[in-house]
């Protein structure tokens, strides 16, 4: 159904279509026509175009990997985000990236791919964990130049577990252990937490009802050195603007 995009868009379906009277001069450009239509139909004009110098990458729900998850899952797909990141890095009008997270985790490879993409960008990046940035959301949150967590937001750190088809040989365990090491190494490299401390959080007992691991709420994540600061949208945007300013003054 990708050929749907070849179709032309008409006015939204629910709006009454007012026929244009004859003899009146036709608007010159398509943009004028659209503005005029809105004015006629709703009695309002379109918002003046404002171009943001920052782009916002939202990572929500499950991070979807090589398999399409069933429809009831709300997912973030890497085929959407990776081209967005490439475009943002390339576009001279985009000066900074804000990464907003509210995720329960997901595919390890896809999550690490996104984290590596964000980390390797030249443009200033700031992340903001709202609600939750659990499991594979942790490496993505720490991949940016500076990270924020909302006061009430949580991050759960727990071991990678087996799901799906399991072949019971020692290699299975070693493979999982390697996967886990990839996540731990990335987080340790990109935040202020020490490897030993992170492993302790990951394997601590008695804090989660059905699992081993730790839940860090807002300030806790900052205390452990995982996240840089507690804050919300305002602080995150100010920091991003500060980083953009620093970068542009470096160039001059």
């Amino acid at each position: 159904m990708s050929n749907l995009s070849d179709f032309r868009v008409r006015t939204p379906f629910h709006l009454p279509i007012t026929p244009r009277k004859r003899g009146k001069p036709k608007p010159t450009t398509q943009k004028d026509a659209a503005a005029l239509d809105t004015l006629k139909q709703l009695g309002q004009t379109q918002l003046p175009k404002y171009e943001s110098n920052i782009h916002c990458i939202t990572i929500i729900g499950q991070i979807e990997g090589h398999m399409v998850l069933p429809a009831q899952n709300k997912t973030t797909k890497y085929e959407h985000l990776i081209p967005q990141l490439v475009a943002a890095e390339q576009n001279p009008k985009v000066q900074g990236i804000l990464v907003v997270l509210n995720t329960v985790g997901g595919d390890v490879e896809a999550g690490l791919a996104l984290a590596e993409m964000i980390d390797s960008m030249h443009k200033p990046t700031v992340s903001l964990v709202l609600g939750g940035g659990h499991s594979i959301g942790v490496p993505i949150a720490v991949a940016t130049d500076y990270s924020f967590i909302a006061e009430t937001a949580t991050m759960t750190i727990h071991p990678i577990r087996l799901t799906g088809l399991v072949i019971g040989v020692p290699q299975t365990y070693e493979y999982l252990d390697k996967m886990q090491d990839r996540v731990i190494k990335f987080v340790v490299k990109h935040s202020k937490i020490e490897e030993q401390a992170f492993r302790e959080l990951m394997f601590s007992l008695g804090k989660l009802a059905r699992d081993i691991g730790t839940v860090l709420v807002g300030e806790d994540a900052v205390e452990k050195g995982l996240i840089d600061e507690v804050g919300g949208l305002g602080k995150a945007l100010s920091k991003l603007n500060e980083l953009i300013h620093m970068k542009s003054s470096d160039h001059n």
């Binding site: 159904m1 749907l4 995009s5 070849d6 179709f7 032309r8 868009v9 008409r10 006015t11 939204p12 379906f13 629910h14 809105t38 379109q46 918002l47 175009k49 404002y50 171009e51 943001s52 920052i54 782009h55 916002c56 990458i57 499950q62 990997g65 090589h66 398999m67 998850l69 069933p70 429809a71 009831q72 899952n73 959407h80 967005q84 990141l85 475009a87 943002a88 990236i97 329960v104 985790g105 997901g106 595919d107 390890v108 490879e109 999550g111 939750g132 659990h134 499991s135 594979i136 759960t156 727990h158 990678i160 799901t163 799906g164 999982l176 996967m179 996540v183």
Partner: protein, 74 residues
């Protein structure tokens, strides 16, 4: 594929049998969005996928709005 998530697998991998929404991904005027196909030439916007925050202020493409298509013969 290894999943690293809080949710138990039975919550993620069960298939819903109830009526499946016919969701499609389309791009209109450079804005990528997920739409539900209502009729052969009519779709309802479910979600806008964009990194440009200004795209979300565009009244025409707010979730819930209908988009009708005109079929062009080439």
């Amino acid at each position: 594929m290894v999943h690293y998530t809080l949710l138990p697998p039975e919550l993620i991998f069960f298939e819903q049998d109830e009526h499946d929404l016919q969701l499609r991904e389309i791009e209109i005027n450079g804005i990528k969005m997920i739409v539900e196909i209502v009729d052969f030439n009519l779709a309802r916007i479910i979600r806008v996928i964009s990194s440009d925050p200004q795209h979300f202020l565009n009244d025409d493409y707010k979730p819930g709005n209908y988009i009708s298509f005109e079929i062009k013969c080439v």
